[in-house]
């Protein structure tokens, strides 16, 4: 018994120490990447790559023991995406933005599904298609602030990006339910009604749990009065909401992504702007270590052998996503009569992909791995490798798009100096 206790406590202490090392490595690489003006999330992934597949310091088995971190982090990511569906903001953005966002998301999802389907099972294609819709705002914000861009493209892209993740997560939640049903049923036993009913039950349950817990949390958030401890109270409400929705979803077979997302949407729409800001600020102070651990663990779970063997699928995902974003944004912008520059450059500007896509790929892995490990691995590795690709290439394309659209009002100092010295030289 003593020996058993010692073994358990030794395993536990190793787990805790590893978790500390993961956060430390992620923090360090995040800072390094931030100093290079690359979003910190890319740095966390690279830190994971170093700890996992490169040095093998942390094994896949040890990473699997940290799955609780993933579940909680995913709950917070989904909750955060839900808070972006604030109806006041949507009203302000207008129907034009909603149409463009939905059209480009549908086009991207459809194209990725169609391109990858000849090479993978339908559930894998569905998952890749749904995840392809997500876009990362950080590189876009960075370019907009750096070059102080102004114009129709700038005015369109920011609200579209704000809404895009929410649309992507809704697609993902629905398609994940269908994928689970497809994977979990043998072809002989697969009837259309069964394929339809199971996802509907899962989505219905998610809506019910999300709405009820979200409503109760919203009521609690409304009671927070002004005072020194309001941040603490707000934090308690959010943490309890995320844990209850995620846990209840896992327990009752609802979606662990849609449920906290819906709760986030309900809470956000029940509170005023000041409370909303307080809620955002509170999450920001609590969540970073969980997120650093989550994204670093995601990087450590990358498997080069899977990436190499799924190379063609990864290439098709990248091609499909690029064409889908471009064509979808063009079609959406044409539908609402946007200017030519929005039609031409919006899609390219929507290519960066990061946190939400990683989160969704891990969520897909967690749900599908017990049913079909090989398919789950393909989804996770293709998305993680593509995220690294889009994290590097995306910001460059966004910059080119804004320059081509003539929306840049501030230029790099170096360029201004070069121009000045050229002028002097010419004189």
């Amino acid at each position: 018994m003593v020996l058993l206790n010692t073994a358990v406590s030794s395993d536990l202490s190793t787990l805790i120490v590893n978790l500390g090392i993961i956060i430390l490595a992620g923090l360090f690489m995040g800072r390094v990447f931030e100093s290079m003006k690359i979003p910190a999330i890319t740095g966390y992934l690279v830190a994971g790559l170093i700890l996992g597949p490169i040095t093998h310091y942390i094994s896949y088995e040890q990473l699997a023991e940290m799955s609780i971190v993933s579940d909680i982090a995913l709950g917070f990511i989904a909750f955060q995406v839900g808070t972006e569906l604030w109806f006041g903001k949507l009203k302000k953005s207008g129907m034009k933005i909603v149409i463009i966002t939905i059209v480009q998301a549908v086009a991207t999802t459809t194209l990725v599904i169609l391109l990858t389907l000849p090479f993978v099972d339908l559930p894998v294609a569905l998952m890749l298609g749904a995840i392809a819709a997500a876009t990362a705002p950080a590189p876009i914000i960075m370019i907009i602030k750096k070059y102080r861009t102004k114009g129709e493209l700038t005015d369109t892209i920011l609200p579209v990006v704000g809404l895009d993740d929410a649309v992507g997560v809704i697609f993902f939640g629905i398609l994940l339910s269908i994928s689970i049903t497809l994977m979990g049923t043998t072809e002989a036993g697969l009837g259309f009604a069964h394929m339809l009913v199971e996802p509907l039950i899962e989505i219905g349950l998610s809506i019910l749990i999300g709405l009820v817990i979200g409503y109760l949390s919203g009521l609690s958030a409304r009671t927070i009065s002004q005072g020194n401890d309001r941040k603490e109270k707000s934090l308690n409400i959010i943490v309890v909401t995320v844990l209850l929705t995620t846990g209840a979803a896992l327990l009752f077979g609802a979606s662990p992504i849609l449920t906290p997302m819906l709760a986030g949407t309900v809470v956000t729409n029940m509170i005023n702007k000041e409370c909303y800001h307080l809620e955002e600020e509170t999450i920001r102070f609590f969540v970073p270590p969980i997120m650093i651990a989550f994204f670093t663990i995601a990087g450590a779970q990358l498997r080069f052998d899977v990436i190499i063997s799924a190379g063609i699928i990864g290439a098709l995902y990248i091609v499909g996503r690029t064409i889908g974003k471009f064509a979808g944004a063009y079609a959406g912008a044409s539908w609402v009569n946007s200017s030519d520059k929005v039609k031409k450059f919006l899609g390219v500007s929507l290519l960066p992909q990061s946190g939400v896509a990683i989160g969704l790929s891990i969520a897909a892995f967690n749900e599908l791995a017990p049913i079909h490990m090989a398919n789950a691995l393909i989804i996770k590795n293709v998305v993680l490798a593509s995220v690294l690709f889009f994290a590097l290439i995306g910001p460059v394309l966004v910059k080119i798009a804004f320059f081509k659209a003539n929306e840049v009002t501030e230029f790099d100092e170096k360029k201004v100096k070069t121009w000045k010295s050229t002028t002097v030289y010419q004189k």
């Binding site: 931030e34 100093s35 003006k37 979003p39 910190a40 999330i41 990511i77 955060q80 604030w86 903001k89 953005s93 990362a136 705002p137 950080a138 590189p139 914000i141 960075m142 602030k145 750096k146 102080r148 005015d155 920011l158 609200p159 704000g162 800001h277 955002e280 600020e281 999450i283 920001r284 969540v287 970073p288 997120m291 990061s354 946190g355 939400v356």
Partner: protein
Amino acid sequence: MEKYNGISKITTQFLDGELSKLEMSYNADKSLDLTVQYQDDNGYWYDYEVVLNLETGKIYSATHQSEGYLNKVSLDRKKEFEMAIQNYLLVH
């Protein structure tokens, strides 16, 4: 309160956003930390933190970043904004 309207105007002029929160902390080592939190038209929040050396009257460090754990990214510093804030704090 009038006193802080100036910082609100500077934020709008140089950072294209609306001042949503202002925090100042006076440190015993003769420096002043000023955090300007602002929001753009699309609901994205940003933090601009400057540390002013009260002995020299100059800003000796500053950080500018977008908020949110998923959107967090380090942004370029805006010299014009920092100069305007520095001058404003020294006058008021």
